[in-house]
């Protein structure tokens, strides 16, 4: 479903990704692990289409369609969902307003009927209930004054509503205590399904105990250095990234 071939990317003159090859099938969850500065977040931003990165070589397709040629909102409509490491605050705009605008934006591009206020509210309530959340969060301004855990849960709620083909979770565990992590992971797991692929990007193994991946890839120095099953994550936890020429003793 997601095909990344020989992807090279740089910021300014500095190469960050130096030839990534990755294939993720529908229904699979892949984890990308790697030390700080390995290019993990860059990869997630490139998939979502953030400006500031130059693709120097390679291709990315989703369901056979070129992803790199699309604007961020087109990618969203194509089914790419990025759960941000640091969800952005938008003062004065309620979550409900934001979600409805996003959902209808995506539905419009997909050629689906837009939802009116009542339909939207009904759908949101259902999703909230499925994720064990209250809809109180909908009334508040987007991420403003949210705790770290609330921000991440808000990301999961948005994912549930937008129903993506590919969900990219960028360091979803950062800034979460263990209880919050469990709630968020439960939410993500509830959204796993045969038609959906997930890319879980993380530094630590911790998250992968809750969101168990089918495949684990180690990203370092802009390349995938090693791939394996879920046991690779445990191995990394024990041995660190030293064998990839990365000193993270500190």
């Amino acid at each position: 479903m997601l095909e990344i071939t020989n992807l090279h990317a740089s910021v300014g003159d500095r190469p960050i990704l130096k030839g990534i090859d990755l294939s993720v099938q529908a229904g699979q969850v892949h984890a990308i692990m790697g030390p700080n500065g390995s290019g993990k977040s860059t990869l997630s931003y490139i998939l979502a289409g953030r400006e500031g990165y130059t693709i120097t070589e390679g291709a990315v397709t989703l369901d056979g369609r070129d992803l790199l040629a699309q604007a961020p909102e087109e990618r969203a409509a194509s089914g790419v969902f990025l759960a941000f490491q640091y969800p952005v605050e938008i003062p004065g705009v309620s979550n409900a307003t934001f979600l409805k605008a996003a959902l209808n934006g995506v539905r419009r591009r997909r050629g689906e009927k837009e939802l009116d206020a009542m339909e939207f509210l009904k759908l949101t309530r259902v999703k909230c209930r499925q994720l064990g959340m209250t809809d109180e969060m909908l009334k508040r301004a987007v991420n403003v004054g949210f705790s770290g855990g609330e921000k991440k849960r808000n990301e999961v709620l948005q994912m549930a509503l937008l129903d993506p083909r590919l969900a990219v979770l960028d360091e979803t565990d950062s800034g979460l205590d263990i209880d919050a992590l469990r709630i968020v992971a439960d939410g993500v797991n509830a959204l796993r399904g045969p038609d959906r692929a997930m890319l879980v990007i993380t530094h630590y193994q911790r998250l992968l105990s809750y969101i168990v991946p089918d495949r684990v890839h180690v990203l370092a120095h802009g390349r995938i250095q090693r791939s394996g099953g879920k046991e690779l994550a445990l191995e990394l936890e024990a041995r660190g990234y030293a064998e990839f020429g990365v000193d993270e003793a500190a």
Binding site: A48, A71, E73, I90, P91, G92, A101, G105, L162
Partner: protein, 488 residues
């Protein structure tokens, strides 16, 4: 919540419309001779069959105006205005003033229908109260006023000011010019000499006006200035909410609009005055557009009275207006909520004055300025605490948002305190829409323009929520439309 998301939808539908009120109505008009002199002043007064005292007042204003110089302190620039190269009176040709809505020229009714302004009193379902009464001013004259009879039942007077001069001369004579004297400033003085029509409102003691009152101003004729004058008097313990809207056709030349609004709130009276100003702003190159030089002032004469100004300024090539409150009565309250959006080559210099005279007077100022394209947007405000205003309070918040690196956003507050016990607080910030916010919205599926509209609506929310429902949706739409082409 739905209002803002509806905004997005409506912005979508309007994307290619830009300024959708730019059409011209073909209608025969009667105009005064071009230019300005005492004869033109007399012509206007005669057309309206005014009493002697009002003609004298106009002439005093005109003679005073000749001694004045156009103010140059605002941060706006425009070529010199030739005051002789305009018409000061233009009215659709009718026999006499329309007596009922059935007599109004159907072309005019169609015009207002096209503008989305209901000029019919029809379709009143049983048990459903009308929510809004409209006075429609077309160029220099009022062409229709709805629900007059219904309002009269409560003793409320809502009519064109020219009609009030005839039917309620004592009230008009007592209050006209009592808040904005004829000698007040260059544009107000010009208005005093040549004002043509506008609305008059009187709310009797103890009456809460049962519906929103609204005036809708339309400039149609070319080369015509519009000089309306509105006077609202809220007697003791009364409450009124008043809305004002305005549009004009697209024309390549600039047109002058110099209005005066006077509000008087007596003991414990409350006046809420909302404006959505959408005069033609000129095109993307800065050609054409309305010069909007407006004097709006309210006097809180009575104890515990309250005047609240809310304005959404999206139109006009130049906006020069400072809706103000003179807080004379003890415990009186003044409020000013403003959103000013400038795009392309628009220039806005707008703000307020809060003059604290009475004890324990309070004022709140919230100003949101958004600047895009090559526009210049200035907040200019004065908070003045006079020696007797013991316990006065003011809080001012001015936020500016810049979109693009060729526009300007400026904040010029004047704080003058003469009383130890008064407390004045002023805060101002400037920021831009962050790349992070834009990307986050787009990742969720919003287009760049929808994202800007959404973020800006959020930025303005504090002000937009002050608008009556009828206006809120229109205002939110305008926010989106006004910023079209500002990103991407």
């Amino acid at each position: 919540m739905t209002a803002v998301s509806d905004t997005i939808d409506q912005v979508k539908g309007l994307t290619d419309q830009k300024y959708k009120y730019g059409f011209v109505t073909e209608i025969e008009s009667e105009t005064a001779p071009k230019g300005l002199n005492e004869d033109v002043v007399r012509f206007i007064s005669a057309r309206k069959a005014e009493p002697e005292w009002l003609l004298d007042w106009r002439l005093r204003a005109y003679r005073h105006w000749l001694t004045m110089v156009e103010p140059g302190w605002a941060k706006v620039s425009y070529p010199p205005i030739d005051y002789q190269d305009a018409f000061y009176y233009s009215a659709p040709k009718t026999k006499a003033g329309p007596k009922s809505l059935d007599e109004v020229d159907p072309e005019l009714l169609r015009t207002y229908e096209k503008l989305g302004i209901p000029l019919k009193e029809q379709e009143l379902l049983a048990g459903v109260e009308p929510r809004i009464a409209v006075d429609a001013v077309f160029d220099s004259v009022s062409v229709a006023t709805t629900f007059k009879a219904k309002l009269e039942e409560k003793g409320i007077i809502f009519c064109p000011i020219s009609e009030a001069v005839a039917n309620h001369p004592d009230l008009v004579r007592r209050y006209l010019g009592s808040v904005v004297p004829y000698s007040d400033n260059f544009f107000a003085t010009l208005n005093s000499a040549v004002f043509t029509d506008g609305s008059f409102v009187y709310i009797p003691k103890g009456v809460r006006c049962p519906m929103e009152l609204s005036t809708y101003f339309r400039i149609n004729a070319a080369n015509t200035g519009q000089f309306e004058r509105t006077l609202i008097i809220a007697d003791d313990d009364s409450v009124v909410s008043y809305l004002e809207g305005c549009t004009a056709p697209k024309r390549d030349e600039n047109q002058l609009h110099a209005a005066v609004v006077e509000l008087v709130a007596l003991d414990r009276a409350q006046i809420k005055y909302s404006t959505v100003q959408n005069w033609y702003p000129g095109d993307e190159q800065g050609r054409g557009g309305i010069y909007n030089f407006v004097t709006k002032r309210g006097a809180c004469r009575g104890v515990a009275s309250k005047i609240s100004w809310t304005q959404v300024e999206t139109g006009s090539a130049i906006t020069w207006k400072y809706p103000s409150c003179i807080l004379q009565g003890d415990d009186s309250v003044g409020e000013f909520y403003s959103v000013a959006i400038t795009n392309h080559h628009q220039q806005a210099d707008t703000g307020t004055k809060m003059i604290h005279i009475g004890r324990n007077t309070r004022s709140t100022i919230v100003s949101k300025g958004i600047s895009a394209g090559q526009a210049q947007n200035t907040y200019r405000g004065q908070v003045k605490i006079l020696p007797k205003a013991t316990g006065a309070r003011n809080h001012t918040q001015c936020d500016s948002l810049l979109i693009g690196d060729r526009c300007g956003a400026h904040t010029v507050p004047y704080i003058e305190s003469r009383n130890r016990t008064a407390r004045v607080e002023h805060e101002a910030t400037t920021a831009k829409i962050s790349e992070d916010q834009l990307f986050y919205c787009r990742q969720r599926g919003l287009s760049a323009e929808d994202a800007v509209s959404l973020i800006v609506n959020g930025f303005c929310k504090e002000v937009l929520k002050e608008l009556p429902m009828e206006f809120a949706v229109e205002a939110q739409k305008l926010v989106g439309i006004s910023l079209e082409g500002s990103v991407g």
